[in-house]
Symmetry: C2
Subunit: 242 residues, 2 copies
């Protein structure tokens, strides 16, 4: 009996996901775009210590040491870049992706243009929606965060970070696009490196920022569809042509 109940639950979940996928496809009608349903994770940490350390060492041109292992000062080691947890892991930049996939179960998607469908936008802050995006030979981390920068006034912050160095990040431009009800909002910028701190990007407001009211205007039944595209920077393309 329990088995049948679980099967029925799984089928219902599948139908629900399929329905959300269909809705997102309808919004972003460009053929061939991959739609990924991303469920929220209630954030467990907002520890400023790692950020402060990461910021200081990035400014000095070093990779940040992990605050959990302050005795270790190997500049080749990177702390866990997952913004969700105070994770004690640290390792080389090349193995960050496999750590995020295996330990934090963050999905990875292929393709230059994808649609990120964040569900349950109504959940209280702080909440994160996270996915990895493999494109143009690199991996990017898309983070959508609901956070109360000002107490009692939650806002949504969306940004893209390269799993690579700041100088590699300068070679790319990312675009986030919301499109619903005859309204369209586009944000284009250079991705930050995961060696910089996601928390400082958000506190600086240097990302796509949505008030709750604007997020509701773009949401459909509690889900927010964000179209994502990554291109190589024009400046660098022009330099490459010269």
């Amino acid at each position: 009996m329990l088995f049948f109940t679980q099967c029925f639950g799984a089928v219902l979940d599948l139908i629900h996901l399929r329905f959300q996928h269909y809705k997102a496809k309808r919004v972003f009608s460009a053929a061939g775009q991959l739609v990924c349903v991303v469920n929220p994770t209630h954030s467990l940490k907002y520890a400023p210590t790692r950020c402060a350390a990461a910021q200081a060492s990035t400014e000095q041109g070093l990779l940040p040491p992990c605050h959990h292992h302050e005795a270790v000062h190997d500049p080749q080691l990177v702390p866990c870049t997952c913004p969700l947890f105070s994770c004690p892991w640290e390792g080389h930049l090349e193995v960050v992706v496999s750590h995020l996939r295996q330990t934090h179960r963050i999905n990875i998607l292929q393709g230059a243009e994808i649609v990120f469908l964040a569900t349950d936008m109504h959940l209280p802050a702080p909440t994160d929606w996270i996915i990895m995006h493999s494109c143009l030979g690199h991996q990017f981390l898309l983070v959508l965060r609901k956070q109360e920068k000002y107490e009692g006034h939650p806002q949504f912050f969306a940004t893209m970070m390269l799993i690579g160095t700041p100088s590699q990040a300068n070679n790319f431009t990312y675009r986030l696009e919301l499109n619903r009800n005859q309204r369209r909002l586009k944000w284009e910028a250079t991705p930050r490196s995961v060696l910089e701190c996601i928390d400082s990007v958000i506190s600086d407001g240097d990302c796509l920022v949505l008030n709750t009211s604007l997020a509701q205007l773009f949401s459909d039944n509690g889900s927010l569809a964000i179209g994502i595209a990554i291109t190589t920077s024009k400046v660098h393309s022009a330099e490459a042509e010269m």
Copy 2:
């Protein structure tokens, strides 16, 4: 002596305006775009009474009566649409433009694409930057407002309103674009009619919303350049083709 001092002041102002004009041109490098320097006006009123009346009557399909003349119920008369002042004027929709120009000294610019250069972004809220834009046979009102929706946290709200009816407004799409430092933010929507209340558009957040930090990222020396473009709506264009 006073005459020479005034002349010198005027020349300095002219040089300053010319410099700001040049800067905005450099940002929006598309040839033929008209740049208009818009100085701020500290708002003198935020009376909700007119808005509530306007909203109720617009929902009923009537033109809003002016709250200063509550005895008058002629549905052909429109109160002053200038969001700056509690102006007792009322008149027909056709003469709103001349009232705004003559009484409130609001400039009017021609052209499908213009650049709105708002100066002195640092001034305390509430502050408005307003211009009229004549395009595609109609006049539009662009309003940039600095307002504290949440006490102590000023935000910038930018929207475009048609000096016409809501059904006329549905024929158009407006685009506001900020572009600086390898960052680009675009907002596209259907303009509202001036018969709807600007205050309610802003309180609904159904417009381009900028946090102070984001506004600073897009500002250059205290001025914010906003590229404006108006087109006829695709839906209506498609209908016209059928």
